[in-house]
């Protein structure tokens, strides 16, 4: 009977249920939350170059944006 008890608790409950649950929680559930944080961090890193402080660059973006809008309004609208 002792062997059965030990098999059920140690082998099944601890090793086959509890251990995968703990692993799943740390790596999959929590890992997904950390992934969201990392994606936000990466995208912030990627777009931070847009704010360069260089007036010429802002000027190019401004002018090209205006041209795109004008084209849209005249030909497509």
């Amino acid at each position: 009977m002792d062997e059965v008890y030990l098999f059920v608790t140690k082998k099944i409950l601890f090793n086959l249920v509890s251990r995968p649950v703990a692993w799943f929680d740390r790596h999959i559930v929590d890992g997904f939350m950390n992934l969201i944080a990392r994606v936000i961090e990466r995208s912030a890193y990627m777009i931070k170059g847009f704010q360069s402080g260089r007036i010429q660059q802002y000027g190019y973006v401004f002018v090209s944006g205006t041209i795109v809008l004008v084209i849209i309004f005249i030909y497509i609208w």
Binding site: T9, L13, F14, S18, A22, D25, V29, D30, F32, M33
Partner: protein, 506 residues
Amino acid sequence: MNILSLFVLIPVLTCIGIVFTKNMKQTRLVSAIGMSIQLILAGLLVYLYLAERQAGNMAEMLFTYDALWFPTLNIHYTVGVDGISVAMIALTGIVVFAGIFASWKMEFLSREFFISLILLATGVFGFFISLDLFTMFLFYEIAVIPMYLLIGIWGSGPKEYSAMKLTLMLMGGSALLMVGLLGIYFYSAPDGGQLTWNLLEISKINIPIEMQRFLFPFTFIGFGILGALFPFHTWSPDGHASAPTAVSMLHAGVLMKLGGYGAFRVAIFLMPEAAQEQAWIFLILTSISVVYGAFGAIWQKDLKYINAYSSVSHCGLVLFAVLMMNQTAFNGAIIQMISHGLMTALFFALIGMIYGRTHTRMINEMGGLMKVMPFLGVVYVIAGLASLGLPGLSGFVAEMTIFFGAYQHTDTFHRILTIMATTSIVVTAVYILRVVGILLLGPIKNDHFLHLDDAKWYERLSTITLVVAIAAIGIAPLWLSDMINVSLAPIVNKISMAGFEFTSLF
């Protein structure tokens, strides 16, 4: 002055008092005096509340007070309590009091620590007395923000990571909640009258069902994140493990209850039709929380992680009961919030005290502690027994009531989930008794442990307060469940109008 406003005023005055203190001794003395007054006031509130009800005052909310503070959006400072909020205020009073004494030796930046801690308590007290949804949300935020500083500055281990994770996840919850609450506000006057944030006024109207379907998940998940709803619970283990003792006590003991209380008082009470339709999704998630938290706890090696996973399981049971939506289950949910609040605060207090002596929280590095610190050992066993639901202690009353309530649903879906949730009792017993065996019994593993001393007077005061409350609920639960039951009637009526059949054992 309204007695309820004192619950916000006294902590604020205590914080101001702390600013003028000169050293740690003065700081903790002022904090202890302030929070002792608060505890006495909470006791007085329970007495006054029961006396009013005895005298035949059957108003939905007692001790109400109303003042307009932002006319443009019709935001009021409206306070009032019923049996449920009185019980939650009493819980908060006890846990904060015990928390102050558990941090008696806090030397590093003690003034700032106690101010942040008491500010957090102010938010919690304010939340429980508010009847205006906006003011309630405001106090909710006041409670969440100091947590970042408390963990980030006074924490241990990867404290910056944990503090940031906890705050961001709870803030994410707040954002969802804000969407839900704003939606409720904008649909609070379907006939074109004045829009309102007042909980009682909104409960008298029916929010259109199409809007309820949209707003209910926002509100429920918003509160659910704070109540450790799977899969949004991952802030809990890291946050609790890194937080200093009193902060873990307050966070698991009281702050997580804001989630359960809000889900019940706001989400389900104001949007019962949507709750009825969508309950099955959240019932599955909460059932997972209950079992998953318990199994997760077995494999942990760190005492705080064990307790954090155990909290996920027990708080899951609160949300599980709330979603069962009958009077008995609601009653069980409230008792479980109080029971778990006291029990987990006691656990975290003890873990802090043991860690302060052994300098480790890893269970495999400890053993035989009962011989060197018998008082702490015995109290740990009591906390454990309450957690696994031993009759005579609060956990039994709470869990029995919940399972009675859950089993009143006769359909297969609810039955299966109830049986699933019930298995958590056995798993809880496994991890609690295993820890007690390894930690307290057997040979002493480290010679250094032989020189350790038992609890000091302030530690005894802190733990005994909690043990007395746990035993009081366990031995005489009916005064509490009666107090809650009277206040459940209007809520149950509102939900039954949404097409429910209600049955109750009480």
